[in-house]
């Protein structure tokens, strides 16, 4: 009985419902823009394969935080960078990376996409890349 009362209360203020819907939509669009769409699944696959090679143990899951878990150490990072540069034909400058750029399969794939995008436009790369 009380539910029916609440429902009828909402319909008395339809503008509220619309405002919420619009806000939600804008929020989702904003989120999609900021995350630039899904990562290329081909790159994801290749990164996953590289990580399984360079980490001392196989990658437990795509979501694994390889830094927090201690799986990626300085040795693995060096091998990871060499493998990425070779396989994707990009130059990765460690100086411009943050830990978040390397945390997971997803993060690394994003980073590669970004670096490839920058190299396509000729920005942010040292000479001879």
């Amino acid at each position: 009985m009380s539910r029916r009362v609440e429902y009828s209360r909402n319909t008395r203020r339809p503008w509220l419902l619309w405002a919420v819907l619009v806000a939600l939509t804008l929020g989702m669009v904003g989120f999609a823009i900021s995350s630039q769409g899904p990562v290329d699944s081909d790159i994801l696959d290749q990164v996953r394969e590289i990580l399984n090679r360079v980490l001392s143990v196989p990658l437990p899951a795509d979501e694994t935080d390889v830094i927090e878990s201690g799986l990626l150490d300085s040795l693995g990072l060096v091998e990871l960078l060499v493998a990425i540069e070779r396989q994707f034909d990009v130059q990765i400058d460690l100086e411009y990376l943050d830990l978040d750029d390397l945390r997971s399969v997803h993060a690394i794939a994003r980073t590669i996409e970004r670096v490839k995008g920058e190299s396509a436009t000729g920005e942010s790369l040292p000479a001879g890349a």
């Binding site: 150490d73 100086e95 990376l97």
Partner: protein, 549 residues
Amino acid sequence: MGSLSTQLSQSSLVDTLDGYLRRQAEDEPDAPALAFEDERLTYGQLETSANRLARLLRDVGCRAGDRICLLVPKTPGAIVGMQAALKAGCVYVPIDIASPAPRVERILEAAEPRLVLTSQPAAGLVDDLLARGTLGAETVIGSIDDAAVVGERFRSGFGASDAEAFSGEPLPSDATGPDDPAHILFTSGSTGIPKGVVITHANAIRFIEWAVDYFGIQSSDRVSGHPPLHFDLSTFDIYGSFAAGAELHIVPATLNLLPHKLAEFIESRGLTQWFSVPSALAYMAKFDVVREGAFPQLQRLLWCGEVMPTPALIYFMTRLPHVRFTNLYGPTEATIASSYYTVPAIPASETDPIPIGTPCAGEELLVLDDELNELPTGEIGNLYIGGVGLSPGYWRDEEKTDAAFVEGPRSSPQRRRIYRTGDLAHLGEDGLVYFHGRADSQIKSRGYRIELGEIEVALNALGSLREAAVVAVEAEGFEGMAICCAYAPMSGTSIEQQEVAARLREVVPTYMIPTRWQVFDQLPKNVNGKIDRASLKEFFAESSGEATS
């Protein structure tokens, strides 16, 4: 023993390690003591917090001589916990929280702590330990965080903020003296069981006194705190800084992956002293993170724990002409370091060896043959250490202690207690000692001391391998030695190398996992029918040019 205590109280004015903090807090309570990320603590604040926590520790039942295990990341709270443990007359045992539960379990079983201090990042590990039945009902679990630590199976008995109910005044002095244990550091054991090296207050104080004097550490210094708390190098960072009234800048472990960030840290904090294992320095050199004229405020760059690759040393010395570079050498069993060598000039060649140099005050280095006779200049022999740095021995392991701490040298009328390092060395014409590697299967990799036997025991215990052998070869990179595993699966089965690695990771820390693997039907044997490790080393050394794993 009595005369050592007397000497100590005359020279250093502190007879236990917690005396340094207490002294500084009395003299200069507002001076900065600790820095970590955005947190800053003065000596007065640190002393007060430690006094409060010490009273709480006593209140929950800690008594003089009890062990307090620290399952914590390296933060100011951890330092407070260590000082509080000492003030309560207890012995602290720092443990690497990145170690898997089975290994931590062995340490806890040996240490038999009254209390475990932990922090939220280690909650998962504590849960694992409780699941395995390691921590008994009598072991109190406390938190160094303000709030209680909460896991799936537990909630710590107290948080650091509970200590505020107690007085922050110094505790009345207790019976703890310089020859009592201050902390126990567990290191890799070749039989798979970590060995606990007992370090007394006097052991550490003697080194600290020498180091503060030799390096000229002053209250205006800003020193790095880079090595983890379970490395004895960190003992120098902490108490060396406290003894001088300097400011200790704890280096967040997250910076270790990005060498540019490490360099940025040194620069932005204006560090005057940097002390780390050579691997960290070689990593920075590899990524060329040091510009010429960088680190203008840096005065000293020190390293210990591994051989420093000469190319990396040349890299740093060339770019930092205003800095003094010192090599420190010494096993945990002789406390932090036992010899030093300040490099007078940029080495002329990349193959020039850097000597381990001259003994620190009150210590001696002896090069002996297998019968414990002193060898003449130039001859390579076994390196023994004598003097004030010698640990009383391994925790509750008389057999291992007696095997490593012996009486010598035979060629001298005054026999005394000396420690067999297992390192090879020779005394040079210049009077300096030169290091020549290990006589056994202990290696250093990325600054970690590893008994290859520990890894072999773990591999054999997996139950899926018929044979396994672990050897180490020189790696081309910065990490020192590469760990290699030769294995044969159980007859009629096969097993992926990656699966072996994954199962191994459940019992040994990541840094012990072999980076090179080779499967065999049968491991090569020598004429005695034993695994031919020499030929395995050759095999792995030859394949180093190819892709790993």
